[in-house]
């Protein structure tokens, strides 16, 4: 893990409110599946860095999917080639199996860059509507309004298409509302095989500020350092 300078190589919209930003760093350890980086803007004023999954990596070139959401993401999507950013990473724990069932809501698909279009993995992906989907090949896809793929939410899609005989690990990522709904409506036997990459408001990203804690059956845990990946049946949402 290092703190390094990143230079924007490209930045383009890939869905209605999602931008794909490519950043070249001075040096960067190969990230493992599911790891993230803290991105900081260096425009003179003070801001905390923000956590983003490293969607793809080719040596020192990192790709992120940035969803237009708050102050920092709105500034990040306006960055142009040559602009400088602060990058700290790679951070967090990682998915240990490279063949799994992955279930991603919206821009959280960025967590699973290593599983998309890969043999041996099955991808469930959902967004609000067709315009919110990034252009990738997945196994099962749904939109809330039915404008593309299965009509319904991700939990409904999963319940309709997942085969119980499938004994692989199941990896989830998405907002806490989705995680809760998934946990509350899927069989316990399946939940026991689920791991979730949690989102959290983070101060530092490397375990020192203790700001991003989540409640678990084993007490408070730091999402950034003890996670971001936890057993679904361990966390208390």
């Amino acid at each position: 893990m290092i703190e390094t300078r990143g230079i924007v190589v490209s930045n383009k919209p890939v869905a209605r409110a999602i931008y794909q930003i490519e950043i070249e760093t001075e040096q960067f350890e190969p990230r493992k599946p599911g790891q993230f980086a803290m991105i900081g803007i260096k425009d003179g004023d003070f801001h905390l860095n923000r956590p983003f999954s490293i969607y793809r990596q080719t040596s020192n070139k990192l790709t992120f999917l940035i969803q237009k959401r708050g102050t920092i993401s709105k500034r990040l999507i306006k960055k142009r080639p040559g602009d400088k950013l602060r990058i700290i990473g790679p951070l967090g724990n990682w998915f240990t199996e490279n063949q799994a069932v992955v279930v991603a809501a919206g821009s959280s698909i960025a967590t699973f860059g290593d599983f998309i279009e890969k043999d041996g993995s099955t991808v469930f992906y959902a967004a609000a509507s067709k315009d919110d989907l990034i252009n990738i090949n997945v196994d099962f896809l749904s939109t809330m309004d039915g404008s593309f793929g299965f009509r319904g939410n991700l939990v409904e899609l999963f319940k309709a298409k997942f085969e119980k005989s499938d004994k692989r690990s199941i990896y989830l990522a998405g907002p806490s509302g989705f995680i809760k709904a998934f946990r509350d409506s899927v069989d316990k036997e399946i939940i026991a095989r689920c791991y979730v990459s949690l989102e959290s408001y983070m101060g530092c990203g490397f375990g020192v500020c203790q700001g991003c804690t989540v409640n678990t059956k084993n007490g408070y845990k730091r999402v950034c350092k003890d996670g971001t990946i936890f057993r679904l049946d361990e966390i208390i949402l």
Binding site: M1, I2, E3, T4, G40, D45, F46, H47, L48, N49, T71, R86, S200, Y201, M202, G203, C204, F206, G207, V208, C209, Q210, G211, C212, T213, V214, N215, G219, Y220
Partner: protein, 300 residues
């Protein structure tokens, strides 16, 4: 390098890492070695481990952040068994930050620290705004500050630093009470009590409702308080609040701080801290004054 001796302790430079932003001196290892600093203050420690406040503990605010961690820590026993062995390998001044809910607890902590050779000094946390008992309860009263400082001084074999709260009417009164009771240094400022309301959820943004504001937003308040305390006491001052550059640090020096502390910036750009120290030394050189003459020079 600007080496400086304060309260009998040798600091290789005037920079220390503030409590709660540096873990147990092991959090910065990926970015720089702790010996790059003159000293560091460990995460606030209590007799028993504390789990801290429920999640929803931090939020960014204009030029700063509010935290309500609630002094989550591993407790003194784990500090000794798990963290001190690493700290023993370091050369920088190691300061333990003590948090007790009562005077008795502070005394017991100080006695336990007496036995840890590698801890060079103790800082009394009488200014944490995020805990229900102890903490700021002591630090907002001159009388209680004096009583606690005296009691700890009676038992401690190490220099005692009192960390002051800005959440008071007159910080100089508290600083004087600490000095008169034998404090070897005062450190200021701790975070400023603050809150944010989430207007969508129509409730406080932090689960604890209130938290402590830190970062550049509080720097002018901190500089003002260091300036005032410098005029009120003659013991050395550790000054800090929103330092992110050499020039920020120099403001504290000129206001009267012998040592400066970096807090929130440890979260944002840890790797730049050795560079800030280097730049600070260059800035000091450029003034043509010896470092000791720059301390409080703004009072001329």
């Amino acid at each position: 390098m600007i080496g400086i001796k304060v309260a009998g302790l040798n600091f290789s430079n005037p920079f220390i890492a503030a409590s709660g932003t540096f873990g147990y001196a092991d959090s910065c290892l990926d970015f720089y070695h702790p010996d790059s600093l003159g000293g560091f203050v460990l995460k606030g420690i209590s007799l028993k481990p504390r789990k801290g406040n429920p999640p929803g503990r931090i939020i960014e605010t204009p030029s700063g952040m509010i935290n309500a961690i609630g002094l989550e820590n591993i407790g003194i026993e784990h500090l000794v068994s798990e963290k001190i062995p690493f700290i023993e390998t370091l050369k920088s001044v190691a300061i333990a930050n003590l948090y007790g809910e009562s005077e008795e607890e502070f005394i017991e902590l100080a006695e336990r620290i007496n036995k840890i050779k590698r801890i060079d000094a103790i800082e009394l946390n009488i200014s944490c705004p995020n805990v229900k008992t102890g903490g700021m309860q002591f630090g907002v009263s001159s009388k209680m500050t004096a009583k606690l400082t005296k009691s700890v001084k009676n038992v401690s074999l190490k220099p005692v630093i009192v960390k002051l709260s800005p959440n008071v009417t007159d910080i100089t009164e508290i600083a004087k009470a600490a000095e008169e009771s034998g404090a070897d240094m005062v450190s200021l400022i701790n975070t400023v009590s603050a809150m944010v309301i989430d207007t969508k959820k129509m409730r406080p943004a932090l689960t604890n409702r209130f938290g402590g504001l830190s970062g550049p937003a509080i720097r002018p308040i901190a500089v003002r308080m260091v300036y005032q305390v410098y005029e009120a006491v003659s013991i050395p001052i550790i000054g800090g609040g929103g330092i992110t550059s050499a020039d920020d640090a120099l403001q504290f020096t000129m206001a009267g701080a012998t040592l400066v502390s970096i807090g929130t910036y440890n979260f944002v750009s840890p790797a730049s801290i050795p560079e800030i120290i280097k730049q600070f030394e260059n800035e000091v050189k450029k003034t043509d004054y010896p470092y000791s003459d720059l301390i409080g020079i703004a009072h001329r």
